[in-house]
């Protein structure tokens, strides 16, 4: 009888531990972010890691865009993960007050969309839905903060039930990330955003 009770208790404990671990893991990701950003102020080595710029976020975005152009959901997911890694390293003190204000407004939205794209490596349609919103964020961000390379703001008139969607590209040639090879050449350049630093 003792053995039965003991094994019962063990099963419960194991079940409980694994369950509460699960709970912690989702919360600890956000908690970790906070500790790293807090520690950044005091620790020099982490301070060095915080030397990223918006240009790193833009390159992550462009890799994501190219992965979607190639219909590669897996690469899109890892590029999106890269966006959030770059975002965490952005050195905000290099921005002026106006830029910081825009950045503060946009960064959480970027993080959320990139997270969704990273979490849906088997659902490219869902990735593209978030890419649409992420692109709007990136366009606003680049216009406020600037870019080290010339970018093109492109427009796909068909996406979103023909309401259209924008994206940013590093090449003048149109390669549509919303439909991939299904309609690679569809779209037009709406604006050239010149490099400024």
């Amino acid at each position: 009888m003792k053995a039965i009770v003991l094994s019962g208790i063990m099963v419960v404990t194991i079940g409980f531990i694994s369950c509460s671990n699960n709970e912690n893991s989702t919360e600890s990701t956000t908690a970790n972010k906070e500790t790293t950003s807090q520690a950044a102020g005091t620790n020099n080595t982490i301070e060095q890691a915080k030397s990223g710029t918006i240009n790193d976020v833009v390159s992550g975005y462009l890799s994501l865009k190219n992965a979607l152009t190639n219909d590669n959901a897996n690469e899109a997911a890892s590029a999106a993960k890269g966006i959030n890694e770059s975002l965490a390293k952005v050195n905000e003190s290099a921005m002026n007050a106006d830029q910081k204000k825009v950045y503060d407004d946009i960064k959480d939205d970027i993080r959320e969309h990139a997270q969704h794209i990273a979490d849906n490596s088997s659902k490219i349609d869902h990735q593209r839905e978030h890419f649409d919103l992420l692109s709007r964020d990136m366009i606003d961000l680049v216009k406020a903060v600037g870019s080290s390379q010339t970018l093109y703001r492109d427009f796909c008139p068909m996406y979103n039930n023909k309401k259209g969607a924008y994206w940013l590209s590093e090449t003048k040639e149109i390669k549509n990330p919303y439909y991939g090879k299904e309609m690679l050449k569809c779209g037009e350049v709406k604006e050239e955003i010149k490099a400024n630093g």
Partner: protein, 154 residues
């Protein structure tokens, strides 16, 4: 025949014991300050659908079904509610930035069109949360129009 019996009674004891581990319930007496109906225009019919089909996981108050008291179902439910609220909480919508409101309206529309929401595991047990074609169209139309009008403010 002795061993299976031991295992069985062990499992039974485990089942009884896990009933004592009850997750904290998602219930609030406060009038939500960020209530979506105070932040943006929500027609009565839309609000009714949101309340029956979405609020269990996307607000600060869950209507708990009978099986939620039985573990491990209650734990599973608690996880869905936690994830759902983190993604979108209609009781905190008023506190969202304009950009986030636009994103969420876009997400509501897309999840309706893709039929990813309401979750199938949820509608399986809550038949009243199964949305008719008309109800879906109503939500999609509302979310689309709200997104468009919010964009004009951006």
């Amino acid at each position: 025949m002795r061993l299976p019996r031991k295992i069985l009674s062990g499992l039974l004891i485990a089942f009884v014991l896990i009933q004592f581990i009850q997750p904290v319930r998602n219930l609030s007496n406060e009038i939500p300050s960020g209530d979506i109906t105070k932040a943006i225009n929500v027609p009565d019919k839309v609000e009714e659908v949101l309340k029956t089909a979405c609020y269990d996981c996307h607000s600060n108050n869950t209507y708990y079904p009978w099986y939620s008291g039985i573990q491990p179902f209650g734990w599973l439910l608690a996880k869905h509610i936690r994830d759902g609220k983190a993604e979108l909480n209609f009781d905190e919508f008023g506190a969202y930035s304009l950009r986030r409101r636009i994103s969420k309206m876009n997400g509501i529309k897309n999840s309706m069109e893709d039929e990813t929401m309401p979750l199938r595991s949820y509608t399986f047990l809550h038949s009243n949360a199964r949305l008719s074609t008309n109800e879906k169209a109503l939500i999609i139309d509302w979310a689309t129009r709200t997104e468009d009008s919010l964009r004009l403010l951006n």
